[in-house]
Point group: C2
């Protein structure tokens, strides 16, 4: 594909320029891009209105339309995001480690950009600005493939950012957008190994699965979270209820929301009636195993329930006879995102934290904290659920690689 | 495939046991496995003889037969390798970073095993023991798919190690071998994402390409090295010649050997006749561009030459008019493995080290130092030429992931 090859070539040239930019220069450009987005609000809204109109025409779901919609407020939010990234420390050039060898070689492990990052995401125009900011600050060129329903909005946002870069004397190809909405193009994009160093899919489970299966470029999987809370035999039930309500209901459509409870039998009678009452107030449907249903009235849970990320006002409940059984159940059904134990017994907390295999394991806290901002990273490009390269919230540092810089004075190998 | 699924299930159970093993227990088992290999030498040699006989029968190349062959000496070498890994520090459990948040959450970034590692490699039985040792010490279960020509040897080595583990009361499934020599099985292995967290191919460019293109499991690419040495205008030519001879001839079949020279025009007349003489003594064939051929007698170099990893007594030579041209040429043709500049001018060295995009960039040293032992890692499982997760020599630490362990006292998200 001619078009993709051209984008790839442009990015490969841009990346060498971007890796040399000073921190000041990058921050200045981010601030300029932020102002430009606000200044160009009316044209952004105009373009976004086209996407919205098309979406309404084809009967798009109201939730999706909401994610697609830009407002003055939301454009300010995007600009604010760029300013926040400008304020974060620059990871590039950091010396991670130095090694001095007996033969006199001085080895420096230095943080460098990854190079060219590809992003494939759904129809959420704010991701366009977000992804650019994080990739740019970490010295990477980015090629974006946003959802086709947001194409007018994405073209407009990209145009504003490219102009701001140009005004600063920086290569516009720091951000490029694949404007064609064609599955064959997306598929080809996932095979551009010659030009793209990393592909990050951001969106629902289907999108991520498709990228993982079709890409020959290294991928970081993000986002699927079938998160559990285990209420231990030694739990403070008051804490448990507050944490469960928070993790289930504070925001239902996010990957760090709680989808399933595991409950030690010893606390079922004390916990379940109060918990059911509290969940009812938030209109949460309960799907419980037989033991749960002996205590409270609810829908029977199937095995499929245990493996489902509802992203909805639904929660499954499973009872266990021991912490070992709880750990085994969670390790079986979890998507390795975020898992929490509620217990006052230190040994049990440590056992859970050690043995549950997930990016983030909690004792006595809500799973909703798995987030780049909440971790103090200042921003995030996604939450990795794989074990390679980066795990959990990915900030600027997770968008970097390293190189070994070795200084000698004529050393040869014996 | 029933067989593969069973191996996958076994490994998924084993990994939870392995992540809990103490350092002492792991080291003890490695020492026991080392003794067992030596003790079982005669049966290993017997099984290896079957592979060799089959290889000779089918007319295998002498180089390949040599790699396939075990001797008493080589078995001792394998055992020695296990003992060396036992002596290395255990990376598991290390606290990489701690973060305390204003809301009181204590976040600990802790090093953990990756889980299950798959290795696909050629017919080199020593890799079987090596790969086991590194994966085991870093708390991972390993599933091995060795070259089919080494199948009897690999079965024998695996059997000895599994018995040693069993004698120590450790799960034998820490090491499993895919014994079937069938391309369909290998292909299916690369799709076992449910069970395998990381796939490491080790071997020639063809093997690696096939794994990268067919695997849906995350892969770390290792090994292809089209390494350059750039002789700068300000080079010490004596150093240059010694380094080039070392990097080209000390061992020709390895990925960190030098395959191509880039020479500043200002030094061609002083360098080339002496260098050609020195290379001649090692029977190295020179393929040069036109400018080179005006100074010395050699074969004309084509573009294909610049992109070729010879792994042979051949070197290509290209002249440039500036360091910028040298950097651009190298960034175009390099496989991002190891690149070196010979110069006495500090600014030029730094420019090269900054701007050449490779895992290891050298000033005034041989590319042959790109190696886990030479870097002080104590061992290596391969040299990564990709930018994700690990770059350059991969030791124990590069076989780990991390998890965030978060301790709270009832925190919920606002």
């Amino acid at each position: 594909m001619e078009l993709l090859n051209q984008l790839g070539k442009n990015a490969s040239i841009a990346k060498y320029e971007l890796q040399k930019l000073t921190t000041d220069k990058k921050n200045h450009a981010l601030c300029k891009a932020a102002s430009a987005l606000v200044k160009e609000s009316s044209s952004l809204l105009q373009e976004n209105a086209k996407d919205i109109a098309k979406g309404e025409e084809k009967g798009m779901h109201s939730g999706l339309l909401d994610r697609l919609r830009l407002t003055e407020e939301r454009i300010k939010g995007m600009a604010e995001g760029l300013l926040q990234v400008a304020e974060l420390p620059d990871p590039i050039g950091q010396v991670i480690e130095t090694i001095e060898r007996p033969n006199g070689l001085k080895i420096e492990k230095r943080r460098v950009p990854i190079g060219v990052i590809g992003m494939i995401y759904e129809s959420r125009p704010n991701v366009t600005a977000d992804a650019f900011a994080l990739c740019f600050k970490s010295g990477n060129a980015v090629i974006l493939k946003g959802g086709s329903d947001a194409v007018c909005s994405n073209i407009a946002i990209t145009r504003v950012i490219r102009q701001a870069l140009k005004d600063e004397g920086i290569t516009e190809d720091a951000i490029q957008l694949i404007e064609v909405a064609d599955r064959a193009v997306t598929r080809e994009f996932m095979r551009m190994k010659e030009y793209v160093d990393l592909l990050i899919p951001r969106g629902g489970a289907g999108l991520i699965k498709s990228v993982v299966e079709n890409s020959i470029i290294p991928v970081i999987e993000t986002g699927t979270g079938n998160c559990h809370i285990y209420v231990d035999e030694f739990a403070d039930l008051e804490k448990a209820i507050q944490i469960i309500i928070n993790a289930k209901t504070q925001r239902i459509g996010v990957c760090n929301a709680c989808e399933s409870l595991v409950i030690h039998k010893a606390v079922k009678d004390a916990l379940l009636p109060r918990l059911a009452e509290a969940l009812k107030a938030y209109h949460v449907e309960i799907r419980g195993d037989e033991t749960v249903r002996q205590v409270i009235d609810c829908i029977p849970a199937t095995k499929e329930d245990y493996g489902t990320e509802y992203l909805d006002y639904i929660i499954s409940m499973k009872t266990v006879a021991s912490i070992e059984e709880a750990v085994a159940h969670i390790n079986k059904y979890s998507t390795k995102h975020s898992e929490s134990i509620i217990t006052e017994k230190r040994e049990n907390a440590e056992k859970f934290l050690n043995e549950v295999d997930a990016a983030c394991v909690y004792a006595n806290a809500s799973t909703r904290f798995t987030d780049g901002f909440e971790f103090g990273f200042g921003a995030e490009i996604g939450i990795s659920t794989q074990k390679l390269h980066a795990r959990g919230p990915m900030g600027l540092r997770e968008l970097t690689s390293y190189k070994y810089v070795i200084r000698g004075n004529g050393q040869i190998r014996q």
